[in-house]
């Protein structure tokens, strides 16, 4: 679909410059012949100490290679058939599969399930419970509450400091009487 068919993009496609094409060509060539030129398992065996996989070389390996190449080619052929030769096929498959297609198309809704089960509860819980209730409400409320409390006590005690000498004298007399009475009672 990327290389054939109708153009669906907006920009003007153009061939890449040589700075991009050069490395791509090198990589493409290597991906075809690299396995034959370099003995890859031997190079990698130093990094991966488990040697079992590298030891069943010989004809079996070529058969395996052949099978996987055959599968790859079959896949290419199938998609050529579906998307270039006969463009109706994908449409038919989609409609015949129905719900299964939707399920697979959306990757079994794993992302959505993860989002609903973990991401959203975590974000919303952090915001409404941890931040706004616990942090701003409970903890910071306690901190600021201590400030408010001291101010409250202070404003009550302030009433005693009227600056009126006569009321101070009254308090002194009342205090003295209380002290004397208490001393008399406790004796």
């Amino acid at each position: 679909m990327t290389f054939w068919g109708d153009y669906r993009g907006h920009g003007h496609p153009h061939e890449s410059s040589w700075t991009m094409l050069g490395p791509l060509v090198v990589l493409a060539v290597l991906s075809i012949v690299g396995g034959f030129v370099f003995n890859v398992p031997e190079i990698l065996s130093g990094m991966f100490p488990i040697k079992e996989a590298t030891e069943n070389g010989g004809p079996g390996e070529m058969v395996l290679t052949g099978i996987s190449v055959a599968f790859g080619l079959a896949g290419i052929a199938l998609s050529w058939l579906m998307y270039v030769v006969n463009k109706d096929i994908p449409e038919k498959i989609t409609s015949s599969l129905g719900g299964v297609y939707t399920l697979v198309y959306n990757k079994y809704f794993v992302d959505e399930a993860y989002d609903a089960a973990i991401v959203r509860p975590l974000v919303q819980g952090s915001e409404s419970v941890l931040w706004k209730t616990v942090d701003a409400g409970l903890i910071d409320g306690t901190v600021n509450g201590m400030g408010t409390q001291s101010q409250g006590v202070g404003s009550l005690l302030r009433l005693l400091q009227s600056g009126n000498i006569r009321s101070y004298a009254t308090w002194v007399v009342i205090g003295a009487v209380v002290v004397i009475v208490v001393m008399g009672v406790t004796r």
């Binding site: 975590l122 952090s126 931040w131």
Partner: protein, 519 residues
């Protein structure tokens, strides 16, 4: 006067001279304070070259009687723990001055003078070896920061400044009471002498005394760290502070708390420290996860970074109270790392505020297109903060987690959640600010008022990025000195606890704060 004392005196002298610069000479003020701070930095490098790693005790010591009665000494010196914290202070002060170059418009002279006063206090805190002297420097630091927030802060600056001051003060006063109690026992404020008296058994504490004194010191330091649930002054102070204030507050002042834990709490009260380690580590882990979760949902970039500090500092406390060599090494390294990477975050966020006059994430979007270099440096800093290998935080977090695993594996498992969450909140913020769209309008991004770095801003960020990489790769520059001091702290904690109590049967007792295979 040795090099350390010159280094303490220089910013103080700079502060006084700055006050006499005519008010209109704003450019002269800025240049002068910058030169003083750079000079202090160069001088402080002399501490590094002259420092002998592995030499026990303090270096660059001067110990003279300051006040004969009560016995108060001018006793300064450094070891592997304070060395790098002093370097961090002198390294960041020029950057704090540079980021404020255009940011500060009113009362320029006082602002830059206060930055020098702050540097003086910070170097003093980390150099003091007399409890009284330590307390004086501890309070000296509060003063400039109070004004930095209260005068040059944002809208709610008075509220934030008063809250910051009172909160810290409440803790400090507890510590002062404990210091005076120690004086009545020992007859001196000199810390080295007090430690000697304890170690030789000439003075001792009952179990209750030790626990109460430990708690008094601990609360003072825990507020400064800040440890959950004593952290709520921090987001307010950070959001309201000017960039330089946030930078110095997060990068160095928070470390005063963790430094105090290591320097005083553990060597003075080893038994109580071990006994109380369990619940302290639980609080640290709550702080790590809670701080990260609350950071994740902040709509304001500065507040996000502030809550992330709660999370990061939780790691440091956890490392300290693991009582393992690696845990302590990692904790100290992480103190420095946090200073660099979170400092850089505040610097960068401040630069973005200067461009858009907003700190809200929703007011940004697509910044990477408008300012690619800003986006690049911010990304490197983000990755450092998350703790990617080859960058500084990785080393600290790794050592802490490793050390904590030696003590109790479950703690490591929970703390590691914080590492994952840090990637969540940082990368999510990065995505919303630097990519995507601004606000709800599709396709609309920040196009105006978003120029890339100018030369001055490059000068601010490059040293920070260099340090992130350096500390991430060449840990041998910093760790040997730190390790040696950590080993001696653990040693003090071990021997002193052995002296203070009769041998404990292997089944119970002192190991429940963390296992004893410290080294």
């Amino acid at each position: 006067m040795n090099l350390l004392e010159i280094l303490i005196a220089l910013p103080a002298a700079g502060f006084l001279v700055t006050l006499f610069i005519p008010r209109k000479q704003e450019h002269l003020t800025r240049s002068f304070t910058l030169i003083v701070s750079l000079l202090a930095f160069v001088l402080s490098l002399g501490l590094v070259t002259g420092f002998e790693t592995g030499k026990p005790g303090q270096q660059f010591v001067d110990n003279v009687v300051w006040i004969a009665n009560p016995d108060i000494h001018w006793h300064v010196g450094i070891d592997g723990l304070s060395l790098w914290l002093i370097i961090l202070s002198t390294f960041l002060t020029p950057i704090a001055i540079l980021v404020s170059w255009r940011y500060i418009h009113k009362q320029v002279r006082e602002f830059f003078a206060f930055l020098l006063l702050l540097e003086f206090g910070l170097i003093g805190v980390f150099a003091a070896w007399d409890l009284f002297l330590f307390y004086v420097f501890w309070e000296v630091v509060l003063v400039p920061m109070y004004f930095l927030i209260g005068i040059w802060g944002h809208d709610r600056r008075i509220y934030a400044a008063v809250k910051f001051f009172l909160y810290t003060m409440a803790g400090s006063v507890l510590m002062l009471v404990a210091i005076i109690y120690l004086y009545t026992l020992a007859g001196t404020f000199d810390y080295a002498t007090i430690l000697d008296l304890f170690r030789s058994g000439r003075i001792g504490l009952s179990h209750t005394e030790e626990t109460l004194l430990f708690l008094a010191f601990f609360v003072a330091f825990a507020i400064k760290v800040p440890l959950f649930p004593l952290h709520t002054w921090l987001p307010d102070a950070h959001v309201e502070a000017p960039t330089a204030g946030s930078l110095m507050l997060a990068s160095v002042m928070l470390k005063m708390g963790t430094y105090g834990l290591l320097r005083f709490c553990i060597p003075l009260f080893p038994v109580a420290a071990r006994e109380n380690a369990s619940w302290i580590n639980v609080l640290a882990i709550i702080g790590i996860i809670y701080g990260a979760l609350v950071a994740m949902v902040q709509p304001n970039m500065k507040k996000l970074v502030a809550y992330s500090s709660v999370s990061h500092l939780g790691f440091v406390v956890l490392g300290i109270f693991s009582f393992t060599q690696m845990g302590l090494d990692g904790a100290v390294y992480q103190m420095l790392n946090h200073g660099i990477s979170t400092g850089a975050l505040f610097v960068l966020v401040g630069m973005m505020y200067e461009r858009r006059h907003s700190l809200a994430i929703k007011d940004f979007g697509g910044v990477a297109t408008a300012a690619p270099w800003l986006a690049t440096i911010f990304l490197i800093t983000t990755l450092a903060s998350i703790g990617l290998p080859m960058l500084n935080n990785f080393v600290g977090e790794f050592l802490i987690l490793q050390g904590v695993a030696q003590a109790k594996f479950a703690w490591t498992a929970f703390a590691a959640i914080g590492v994952i969450l840090s990637a969540c909140y940082m990368l999510w913020m990065y995505q919303r600010v630097f990519f995507g769209t601004q606000g709800k309008e599709p396709g609309e991004t920040v196009k105006h008022h978003m120029p890339d770095f100018n030369v001055r801003e490059w000068l601010c960020v490059v040293p920070l990025v260099v340090m992130m990489v350096w500390m991430g790769i060449v840990t041998q520059t910093f760790l040997p000195a730190v390790s040696a001091t950590d080993a001696s702290i653990l040693d003090q904690a071990g021997t002193a606890s052995a002296l203070a109590r009769p041998p404990v049967p292997p089944t119970g007792g002192i190991t429940h704060g963390g296992s004893l295979h410290a080294r």
